[in-house]
């Protein structure tokens, strides 16, 4: 039977210290639930660097291409426009006037794409069920999740190691 440990701390510094201690003993920490980002926890528990920035860049590039394509179609191809005496009917010669829109649309796509990806990846889109083990982690408590299935140590040794840290509460549940 696999077990999951939810170790609660009342201070983010205590949690960081505990995580450093446990990782030092070869324990793998699955996840940390916290009301705010804990600065510097990622390298301790081995969270990989986010690729959100790369995704955002791709969304922005998509936005840029769509904006240019759209404006070429609206303003040049489908119904050629003569605005301010610039009837050159060519995308290249009119490109300066399309730059602001292209820029704004790239930012729009980049920002929205990034926000939606972020929420989706975290499972925190509006209406999605909450995945934190204890509602108090949205207030002032910090929970560290450790499972036996991702650790080579057995449940007893894990529990002994966890209890040595400055924890507040410990809940152990059986999971399949």
């Amino acid at each position: 039977m696999n077990k999951v440990f939810h170790v609660m701390y009342d201070d983010d510094d205590k949690l960081m210290e505990a995580a450093r201690e446990l990782v030092g003993k070869g324990v793998h920490v699955n996840e940390v639930y916290s009301p705010f980002p804990i600065h510097g926890i990622d390298p301790i528990i081995g969270v990989k660097r986010t690729r959100l920035a790369i995704a955002s860049f791709m969304y922005a590039m998509t936005g840029m291409s769509l904006a240019i394509l759209g404006m070429w179609y609206f303003m040049i191809s489908d119904w050629p426009m003569n605005i301010g005496g610039k009837p050159s009917f060519s995308l290249f010669e009119n490109i300066p006037s399309f730059i602001p829109v292209t820029f704004e649309f790239s930012v729009l796509c980049g920002a929205h794409g990034m926000a939606i990806t972020y929420l989706l990846r975290n499972g925190t889109l509006p209406g999605m069920p909450a995945s934190n083990p204890d509602p108090r982690t949205t207030d002032d408590k910090f929970v560290m999740e450790i499972t036996t299935s991702t650790n080579s140590l057995n449940a007893k040794k894990l529990e002994a190691a966890i209890k040595k840290t400055a924890l507040l509460e410990l809940s152990i549940k059986d999971v399949k």
Binding site: F57, P96, P100
Partner: protein, 412 residues
């Protein structure tokens, strides 16, 4: 730890300075145009380009330093002495600017068309009767109040006095703080920095109008000051970043960690984008409205056969290279990415200043040769020499700055 300015670095800057001096002396004779109307214009125009470019870099360092104090920023405390060091060139740059402007005032060169006093009178006396002045220029005459000798020189002296005065005070207080820890002194610098930024906000714009924009006297752009300001800012960050990489490999500035370098990379990226944004904002509005008195600047640059290609290339390099190369986090932390971009856009921003001055002064008579390269290198040598020499005169890391520890602990 103290920086020792000696050995190969010192020799190299001195060699560059000698190269610049040779270019300056020999160039005076070789760049003379057979047309007496043009004469030594090329020599003076390049002196203005280089003098202004490097003067503006040390000015940007002064601004950035004041900005760090006014915003109570902690990250830059370990870099603060390097910004101070760059002010070492400030008096030299100011001297070059005064020489160029004064020479214009005394009719030695004609970079500034408006300095010709005969443009302002609609009627002149010819043989005892009033005749229309053939040289009368209505647009320039309309600016006669702004360009009057007293007001122009009053402004120029006010700029230089403000910049040099604040640089002197900031440096003095900074060294005082090293000797005696004082929170009062820190808050004094904080308040004076805010005051300096108020002056700088106005003077950086009007200085750009007076010294650079007025070359194309018929043309005007209110955005020009910010455009110059962003250009000097990015050149200064590039210079800081490259020097910091070099100084760290020599064992100095060990307190400057990867996160500080990352921050400098971010500044380089951000200000390069600010410059591109302002460049394009200025261009697009003028291009779109297409009003004759506004488009002259771009007609003589973007749409000219000689300057068109360098002008477009300059913009594309200064915008696209930092944007696509430095957008990634790891690139900002990696000298292999930072250095090529830094060298390229430093040259790019020099070309920017060059293309502000030359098309308006030399028109189709321009030439780019060994003289220009030599003068650029000479000023570069002088700038580095003054910077490093000033750097060696005080402790590299300020001793009693209240936020020193926070700066040393910077991470991310």
């Amino acid at each position: 730890m103290e920086f020792k300015f000696e050995g190969r670095a010192k020799l190299l800057t001195q060699i560059l300075m000698v190269v610049g001096l040779i270019a300056l002396v020999i160039g005076y004779f070789t760049t003379e145009d057979p047309d007496p109307e043009i004469g030594h214009t090329r020599w003076w125009a390049n002196l203005l380009v280089n003098g202004f470019f490097y003067f503006s870099i040390s000015l940007a360092a002064l601004f950035f330093y004041a900005l760090q104090y006014a915003t109570e920023s902690a990250w830059s405390v370990v870099l603060k002495r390097f910004f101070e060091a760059m002010w070492g060139f400030l008096p030299y740059g100011a001297a070059v600017m005064v020489i160029v402007l004064a020479a214009g005032e005394f009719d030695i060169h004609h970079l500034y068309h408006w300095m010709d006093g005969s443009l302002y009178d609609e009627l002149i006396m010819v043989d005892g009767s009033e005749q229309p002045n053939p040289k009368y220029d209505a647009i320039i005459a309309g600016k006669s109040a702004y360009f009057s000798e007293g007001f122009f020189w009053g402004r120029t002296i006010a700029y230089l006095a403000t910049f040099l005065g604040f640089a002197h005070l900031f440096r003095k207080w900074s060294l005082q703080e090293d000797a005696v820890p004082s929170l009062d002194l820190h808050y004094k610098q904080f308040r004076r920095s805010a005051l300096f930024i108020v002056f700088f906000a106005v003077f950086s714009s009007t200085m750009a109008w007076d010294w650079i924009m007025s070359i194309d006297t018929h043309w005007f752009s209110t955005l020009f000051g910010w455009y110059i300001f962003s250009g000097m800012w990015v050149s200064m960050i590039i210079f800081t970043n490259v020097c910091m990489l070099w100084l760290r490999t020599k064992g100095y500035f060990q307190e400057v960690n990867e996160s500080h370098m990352h921050d400098l990379g971010k500044w380089m990226f951000a200000i390069a984008m600010l410059w591109s944004y302002l460049f394009f904002s200025q261009f697009m509005l003028i291009w779109y409205s297409n009003i004759p008195e506004e488009v002259t600047y771009y007609v003589s640059r973007l749409f000219s056969t000689e300057y068109g290609t360098p002008f477009i290339a300059m913009f594309l390099i200064n915008f696209a290279v930092p944007f696509y190369v430095l957008i990634a986090r790891d690139a900002k932390r990696n000298p292999k990415f930072i250095l090529p971009v830094a060298f390229l856009i430093f040259a790019g921003h020099f070309a920017d200043v060059y293309l502000m001055v030359i098309p308006g002064t030399l028109f189709e008579h321009h030439d780019f040769g060994l003289f220009e390269v030599g003068l650029f290198l000479g000023f570069l040598g002088l700038f580095i020499n003054r910077t490093l020499s000033t750097l060696s005169k005080a402790s590299l890391i300020p001793k009693n700055h209240p936020m020193l520890q926070e700066s040393k602990d910077l991470h991310y």
